[in-house]
């Protein structure tokens, strides 16, 4: 019985116009494009310079700015208000204003001023840009001072070490986690539409009068997504390896086992929603609502520990949180299966809860 039902599911998927494309092409394209978009690196900050002093010192400091790769001096204006105009038009992000008498203040009075005005509508970009500019200026004055300075106070050496991602490559961080997101989107949304689709087409009535039991019915819906999940994951591995050169530090076997468990959890959740929804539109919006919360609170884009405690509590009900943690651990740190047992238990908990719920909420009678 189960075999026939699964065969039916696969035939339906194969005959659909968009599903095969979604399963095979979407992960591929998404994984190639998303890591470039989902990037908190700030580059190419557009700078406008207002140099009122036009002295050798101001020129030296501007050369420091020119040498920096994150900042581009795009415009040089005569007055601050002209520079402001460029900010209003969104053609520049930052103004560096060197006041008249900068050189004299710096050399004679040993105390000069520079004004940096940054557009901080995007607070994060603004603060990073300001930090870059400030670092350049303080490097400049440290270089100037180093010959004069006498150090008398005790000092120590602080040696920072960036473990697990020495080149600080943002893609190493995002690619494994984006694989989880893509898997969750495909294996969460498709089951959510599946049972609703049967309801809207009227197939459900026919299935309800057959002797198929509830667990068998739910299993027949679950197993195809399990297989689809494995396909999506394998495409993800290949793209990560061939396109980005990212291979798991730990064993690929560990990743596969966890991805099987995760797929069961998220597909089960999709089936639960599908049981409750009456129309496609309902299923779409319910799934969208939950998956958006789960993604944004999982630590995918921003660190989980940065959230306030109440948000962390809600976030710990997201299976994505655990699987993303696992993927990053195995890919970057080479964690072993036995070191990830707490995450394993949480995921298994989700599997049991969502799938039992899916079986119980499927009703043959109205």
């Amino acid at each position: 019985m189960l075999g026939y039902l699964i065969e039916k599911e696969f035939k339906q998927i194969k005959r659909d116009w968009i599903l095969p494309k979604l399963i095979f092409i979407f992960p591929f394209i998404a994984l190639i494009l998303l890591p470039y978009a989902a990037n908190f690196d700030i580059k190419d900050i557009r700078v406008v310079v207002v140099d009122n002093d036009k002295s050798s010192q101001s020129n030296l400091i501007l050369n420091k700015f020119r040498a920096n790769t994150s900042l581009n001096i795009n415009y040089i204006e005569d007055t601050y208000s002209e520079a402001m105009e460029l900010i209003h038009e969104d053609r520049a992000d930052m103004i560096i204003n060197i006041p008249l008498g900068f050189e004299k203040d710096y050399i004679v009075d040993k105390n000069a001023k520079i004004l940096i005005a940054v557009n901080t509508v995007n607070g994060m970009k603004g603060s990073i840009s300001a930090m870059y500019a400030q670092n350049i200026i303080s490097d400049f004055s440290i270089e100037k001072n180093s010959s004069l300075q006498v150090i008398n106070s005790p000092k120590m050496e602080i040696l920072p070490l960036y473990a697990f991602n020495k080149t600080l490559n943002y893609k190493f961080f995002m690619v494994p986690a984006l694989m989880v997101m893509i898997l969750a989107l495909i294996c969460g949304f498709l089951p959510a539409f599946n049972i609703v689709g049967e309801k809207e087409k009227g197939n459900m009535e026919q299935i309800n009068v057959t002797p198929i039991t509830k667990p068998v019915f739910i299993l027949s819906k679950l197993i195809p997504y399990w297989i689809i999940g494995a396909i999506v994951m394998s495409i993800g591995f290949l793209v990560a390896w061939l396109f980005y050169g990212i291979k798991p530090e730990g064993s690929i076997f560990t990743v596969y086992i966890f991805s099987f468990i995760f797929t069961l959890a998220i597909s089960g959740f999709g089936l639960v929603l599908s049981n409750y929804a009456q129309t496609y539109q309902q299923a779409v919006f319910m799934m969208f609502f939950f998956i958006m919360i789960m993604i944004l609170m999982s630590g995918l884009y921003t660190p989980f520990t940065s959230m306030p405690p109440w948000a962390q509590t809600i976030g710990s009900f997201s299976p994505l949180k655990y699987f993303i943690d696992i993927m990053r651990c195995v890919y970057l740190k080479g964690s072993k299966f036995t070191e990830l047992l707490p995450q394993l238990y949480s995921l298994l908990g989700f599997v049991i809860v969502t799938n039992t719920w899916a079986i119980l909420s499927y009703r043959k009678k109205n």
Binding site: I18, L161, Y280, E339
Partner: protein, 368 residues
């Protein structure tokens, strides 16, 4: 006109009867604002730190206490050797470890520059950079206190002026983003699905053989979504103004006009998707992948567009959300005059016209 009203009423009934969808659509903007306002943040807080203190003397203890006291870190583990550190990282129990060399105080007094190593989990590079910055700041500051440090000779005071958003609130950035996103959901996704549903169920056939002009049918279909979007926009304004303290610095009139233009563009996108898609699933997939994901990722709502590779910047240019968000930021947050957003207005109007023309053409073909 009477036909139009009765058709629009029918569509309203469709929507109101579906309480679940209705609720989600009305609550979604508020939830998104809360999520972006409080949950999606990169600030460092209470990061788990492990310590390997080889000296365990007075000064090193004080250093560890200083770290633990700060709001950024909480010391959760103390290790006896390096291999324990490695394991704690692999179990993802800590995000940062600090190793203090032996005889720390003694070396400090004899000016032997004792070493402190900060190991940050650089899986997340930006977070790791902030962790290193904050912790080395705390460590050197507490050492300065121990030693009462000296001052530099010539110095440059950098005065930093934070334009428009001096408190660096993230809400200033995401409120326009949430608006752009919600309208795409309601206007493009819901509209296209509801039009395609009529076709899938066969009720579209019935409507088309009635004496009502097809254009009236489509107009009455999109009317309710137009009103829902306006309600959503007003909800966002109210929450952002009263709860999150986001100002409306420019003229509210133009902000509102801009929203209406953007809603119309999104509705025409929805109509276009509905003429292409044959089934609800296809309508959904198209609007989710081609409209929704780019509106979130490529609109400048979360990630900075100018830091992306050129090809993605190019794709971003054809997303209506990008132009809408850029204009609303300028009008609402920066409070500039409307002449600075003429470009955005023109692009949006042009997009709307093109979309309407294409869907009209497509629609006629389908009738024959």
């Amino acid at each position: 006109m009477k036909q139009f009203f009765s058709f629009a009423k029918k569509e309203f009934l469709h929507i109101f009867r579906d309480t679940w969808t209705m609720m989600i659509i009305l609550v979604l903007p508020v939830i998104m604002m809360l999520l972006f306002g409080y949950a999606v943040t990169t600030e460092v807080r209470d990061t788990n730190v492990g310590i390997l203190d080889n000296s365990r003397d007075e000064i090193s203890n004080r250093l560890v206490d200083k770290l633990d006291e700060s709001e950024y870190f909480s010391v959760v583990k103390s290790f006896n050797n390096n291999s324990e550190i490695d394991e704690a990282f692999r179990r993802s129990e800590i995000s940062m470890a600090i190793i203090i060399e032996n005889d720390f105080s003694k070396k400090l007094i004899t000016k032997d520059s004792p070493k402190i190593q900060i190991i940050a989990d650089a899986s997340d590079p930006n977070h790791a950079k902030s962790l290193v910055n904050y912790s080395s700041g705390i460590i050197s500051q507490s050492l300065m206190q121990e030693a009462k440090g000296n001052t530099l000779s010539s110095q440059i005071n950098t005065e930093i002026k934070l334009l428009y958003n001096p408190l660096m609130k993230s809400s200033y950035n995401f409120v326009p983003g949430v608006m752009g996103f919600i309208i795409i959901i309601v206007c493009a996704m819901m509209t296209s699905i509801s039009i395609v549903r009529e076709r899938e169920r066969g009720s579209m056939e019935l409507l088309l053989v009635s004496p009502v002009k097809p254009i009236i049918i489509i107009l009455s279909k999109v009317t309710p979504y137009f009103f829902i979007s306006i309600i959503n926009i007003l909800t966002i304004f109210i929450v952002s103004y009263f709860v999150m303290g986001v100002p409306i610095r420019g003229s509210f009139f133009w902000v509102f006009v801009l929203c209406i233009v953007y809603i119309l563009v999104s509705l025409s996108l929805g109509i276009l998707v509905s003429t292409i898609a044959k089934t609800q699933l296809v309508a959904l997939v198209i609007s989710a992948i081609i409209l929704l994901m780019p509106s979130m990722l490529l609109s400048g709502m979360m990630f900075d567009i100018s830091s992306m590779p050129l090809i993605l910047q190019g794709i971003a240019q054809i997303m209506p959300a990008k132009w809408f968000i850029s204009a609303i930021r300028k009008l609402m947050i920066m409070g500039v005059d409307v002449r600075f957003v003429i470009n955005e207005f023109l692009v949006l109007i042009f997009m709307g016209l093109v979309l309407i023309l294409i869907s009209l053409k497509k629609y006629k073909n389908r009738l024959e």
